[in-house]
């Protein structure tokens, strides 16, 4: 009894603390989203229907807040490519072997900043693909807008990219629409996987 009573009390307290903690965290999360000026946030597994719905939301919100048509279209384009990257990436991992999550979740957020928009996305990926993606992004970031346009054209014309338009045309297009350098990072999760983060700035 001497042992069980405090244990139960502790257990109850921790449970209570945890419950209150979650409630507080909802407000913390909300505050954080407000502080970061996140106008749209999605985390989860994507379907084609969800992508359609999210793009509809983006379009609607952009029409309300962004008077410049070119910026509206650029943000829409970047969000679309990011969402479809996540969607296709999910499929690729799902068909693969090994210990990867068959239905990994991605995250996409749009922040409305003073000088434009920030499209943030992240997803788990195979660790073995990190170096190739990093080289691709570094190559893109080393180019000016005219060189980027040439790379887009040669990549489009050589037809070597995959059935879904992969092979990096998406990232080149994202970089062209952004007009800024792509900010990215990889967080190693375990020996087989890493978390890929991408921030695309679209100035208005």
């Amino acid at each position: 009894m001497i042992i069980r009573a405090p244990f139960s009390l502790l257990h109850l307290c921790s449970k209570e603390y945890f419950r209150l903690g979650m409630i507080d965290r909802i407000h913390d999360l909300y505050d954080e989203l407000e502080r970061q000026r996140i106008m749209l946030s999605f985390k989860g597994s994507l379907t084609t229907e969800l992508i359609t719905a999210l793009l509809g939301m983006v379009e609607h919100k952009m029409e309300l807040i962004e008077p410049d048509g070119r910026s509206r279209k650029r943000v829409f384009n970047v969000v679309m490519e990011c969402l479809q990257n996540l969607y296709h990436h999910k499929t690729v991992i799902g068909q693969g072997e090994g210990s990867m999550d068959p239905d990994p979740h991605g995250v996409v957020m749009i922040a409305h900043l003073d000088n434009g928009y920030s499209v943030l996305s992240g997803n788990l990926m195979a660790g073995g693909d990190v170096e190739r993606l990093k080289q691709h992004l570094d190559r893109i970031n080393a180019l000016n807008s005219e060189e980027l346009r040439d790379l887009y054209k040669t990549t489009l014309a050589d037809g070597r990219y995959g059935t879904r338009g992969g092979g990096g045309l998406g990232m080149i297009d994202i970089a062209r629409k952004s007009g800024a350098k792509l900010e990215y990072g990889f967080v190693p999760i375990d020996k087989d996987s890493a978390f890929f983060s991408l921030n695309v700035n679209v100035t208005s």
């Binding site: 084609t48 992508i51 359609t52 793009l55 509809g56 410049d68 048509g69 070119r70 279209k73 650029r74 829409f76 384009n77 679309m80 490519e81 479809q84 969607y87 296709h88 346009r149 887009y152 054209k153 489009l156 014309a157 037809g159 990219y161 059935t163 879904r164 338009g165 045309l169 998406g170 080149i172 297009d173 062209r176 629409k177």
Partner: protein, 130 residues
């Protein structure tokens, strides 16, 4: 062969291919997740049309958005037209863009630099009611 007509959706363009007039039209948005599936009937149709095309073929492309998944398929459509032109027929691609959409104009110029078919860049005027 008959015409190919498809209604536009939030992610796929309106399609109108008429073998009797040689007037082909792709209009709207082309942002499906799997563009290959969407474009296969178009490519097949143009394949059939290329066997006995009109002496003049005009493709109107008026896209508000297209994704990189569609960009290769659109190129494939243009390549089919390039072959029709190479066989001695007159082919024109009319690329429509909105006034504030320089990106779409650039996209048309990019295709014009790859495909050996005359392109006409057409600024969409409000008065046309388009």
């Amino acid at each position: 062969m008959g015409p190919l007509r498809l209604e536009g959706t939030p992610k796929t363009p309106h399609i109108d291919l008429d073998p009797n007039t040689g007037m082909l039209e792709i209009k709207g948005r082309s942002i499906p997740e799997n563009s290959i599936d969407f474009y296969k009937p178009l490519i097949d149709w143009i394949d059939g049309y290329s066997r006995s095309p009109q002496s003049k073929t005009a493709l109107h492309v008026q896209l508000e958005y297209f994704n990189t998944s569609s960009s290769k398929c659109i190129l494939d459509v243009f390549k089919k037209l390039e072959a029709i032109r190479a066989a001695g027929n007159e082919v024109t691609i009319l690329w429509h863009y909105e006034e504030d959409d320089e990106d779409m104009l650039e996209a048309g110029e990019d295709y014009a630099g790859i495909i050996n078919v005359p392109f006409k860049m057409i600024l969409i005027e409000e008065v046309n009611g388009q």
